[in-house]
Symmetry: C2
Subunit: 468 residues, 2 copies
Amino acid sequence: MRFAHFLLALAVALPASAAQRETRIPDASLKVADTLRQRALADDTAWKLVESLTTEVGPRPAGSAADARAVKWAQAKFKQLGYDVVRLEPVKIKRWVRRSERGEVLGAHAQPLTLTALGGSPGGTVEGDVVRFADFASLEKAAEGSLTGKIAFVDYRMQRARDGSDYRNGSQIRGRGPSAAIRKGAIGFLMRSAGTDHTRRSPHTGATRFADGLTPVPSAALANPDADQLARLVALGATRVRIALNTAWEGEATSCNVIGEIRGRSKPDEVVLIGGHLDSWDLGTGAIDDGAGIGITMAAGHLIGQLKKHPARTIRVVAFANEEHGLDGGRTYAETQANNIVKHQLMSESDFGAGRVYAFNTSAPEHANAAEQQIADALKPLGIELTDKGGPGPDLGPIAGRGAAWASLLQDGTDYFDYHHTPDDTLDKIDPQSLAQNVAAYAVFAYLAADAEGDFGSAPKAVTPPRE
Amino acid sequence: MRFAHFLLALAVALPASAAQRETRIPDASLKVADTLRQRALADDTAWKLVESLTTEVGPRPAGSAADARAVKWAQAKFKQLGYDVVRLEPVKIKRWVRRSERGEVLGAHAQPLTLTALGGSPGGTVEGDVVRFADFASLEKAAEGSLTGKIAFVDYRMQRARDGSDYRNGSQIRGRGPSAAIRKGAIGFLMRSAGTDHTRRSPHTGATRFADGLTPVPSAALANPDADQLARLVALGATRVRIALNTAWEGEATSCNVIGEIRGRSKPDEVVLIGGHLDSWDLGTGAIDDGAGIGITMAAGHLIGQLKKHPARTIRVVAFANEEHGLDGGRTYAETQANNIVKHQLMSESDFGAGRVYAFNTSAPEHANAAEQQIADALKPLGIELTDKGGPGPDLGPIAGRGAAWASLLQDGTDYFDYHHTPDDTLDKIDPQSLAQNVAAYAVFAYLAADAEGDFGSAPKAVTPPRE
């Protein structure tokens, strides 16, 4: 998942009209959901999908040849899985490529440093003395011009948490650190990787963004052990470092949101949307980010499609394009659906790995609280509790901002940031049982929302630009 | 440590002459050892040494500029630590360098593979279909010519063990696999890394050796997740891979064994030798292999040197040159000391990481069994038991082959092969408490052996060439 939309905790508590009919889920639907849950727990469709995507396609950064292969893969899989409608929505993206990267300490303690360019970093080679900062606030406090000719190094160590909450700090440094350093005169930017794997020599990439009017400088993340090393060297005395990145923006390309639908039996133009993102960073094979989300939601839709009787509304599964480096798929979808907000019954994206779901929430207003509780009750056998946390997920941020109601299935992300955006994001990090529990949660939630009598509060509203 | 000498279990049970005086350790010495043990457990000299070596020198492959810096580092540290004698023993080595390396799957599933060249591999680029073998025996059974134009892939998954015993298989594949593949016609060789870290994208390097008369081919180890990936791809159908290595032998260079001595008070020309190796592979910073051994033994000697009364014999600490890629330091030492075998009271090398010592053994003949038991008793408070396993350690293999008596302090290597020869061999893998326990074990053992009345059986014998 991407940095900005991670903890988009929108408490969209719309005032309920007193006259509004209460949303309820029929008992018969709850019985079907029970069967669905049990089937999902015993089903390995999601595992096979993630295995296939990560093995046969592998890394698939947006705009690459592999990204195009991933689009074809998703299209073919939707068809194989019996989806009623499979379609592509073109998405314009800007391609950024990493060709090579190298870091090294110069001088008396000469040695290589393991680093990776931040997404969007310009290429180039810079050499300079390193100035270390404990965190983003310290960098911001540095005097004007104090980094002239220097390389800034923000040495913040991300803390582990089930909800991944310290990614707030990690992603802030990655997103805004380079610009802050440039403003003080820095010629290069280094950060300790935004990750909780303190012993892996796998640096964490991810998008950065240079503020308008600044000249971008080479910007990279050090693997955690290399950040330890650089901190020790800086403590010993002046430390000169060379950063050599061969990266570039390579113009525009077209990717696609790949959309599969299980048509609703009675209100087919209303949709429950679930999905993940199809693109990945280039370093790993995108298993937890976000092969898992693709596998979970495609499998959940498939299992619903296998039911004798489809739910009232359509289940729409979207494999979004270029979440990682532009959120282009989510933005495009929100634009094309701008006039269909009210047709979006409820939406949820899976983009936080493959850890077990432990909590559920929706943005639903008061008139849908009972239905929300009914879904929560149906999820309880999976170890899932109702919560007031969560958000729509990154790709659904734009359309949620236009008023579409969202649901959140919160996953245990205790180890998510050990692997996120690193070479280590590979299939072996996924536990098949946890993955199946996610499928069960998505299938149950989506089915019940699609069969509910009444809505979850989607209503067009003035566009709030997504946080960035 | 290097592959060949790992489990050199020499049961050198020389027949004791009935007339031979029994070796005993005086009670007063045992009391001193008790103090020494307690001091060592509270001492952080070893930690500081490993921190300094891995940080200030970093990776130090034999013959590199960093290797030369490591020699200076060791010389300076011996002096700072108050060693009575510090000297260099020149060691001729052959330099092999890794400049770059890349692996990739070609065709419909095109994607990069994380690999590292085996030490000694020639450079070059080869492309070919992959033929997978479950283990070394299967490769050896392949029909003559069956690999013509192909790349052999030995997919053996090393098993975890406290004593690292499955390295036997891993190192066999690394050492002999390439030659076996070439004999069947292969143009390239790949192996699953000889490591127990099944989820780290850190490939394990290490020396290979091409049999005489064969034309070497590019040979590399895949990180474990990449071996998983390649195995899945091969199961799907014909899989073509490109291996591009830029590596080379770069002629001869001179490195040094660095030797520090705490002079014995009454028999200074007799020595108890302890040590580790100063060189490391280039990928990591050589913390567990073998910064730990250097730190442990230098610190142990230092603590003995701080005693008011030195032991009867000299404590000689040797930081061996180029263990990893030729065992040149150990061979050179054995040659220069060929006429001093009997002067070597007892010897032990620390080269298995920084895990706690759990067992002790010596090659001593019957007349020294009581003394061996006395040392074992002195080690017992550290959780160490007498065993019949072990060997002298790689660098002491050559001189042990000439008849010098050895002791073995067996370390818990449960996680040693997670990091061994990988980029992940960094300081953070060492637990300071375990390191101090090692120092205590070495200090106690070396002191008692040096103060024993009588010997441990060193006697010149016809040279047995070390296994390779």
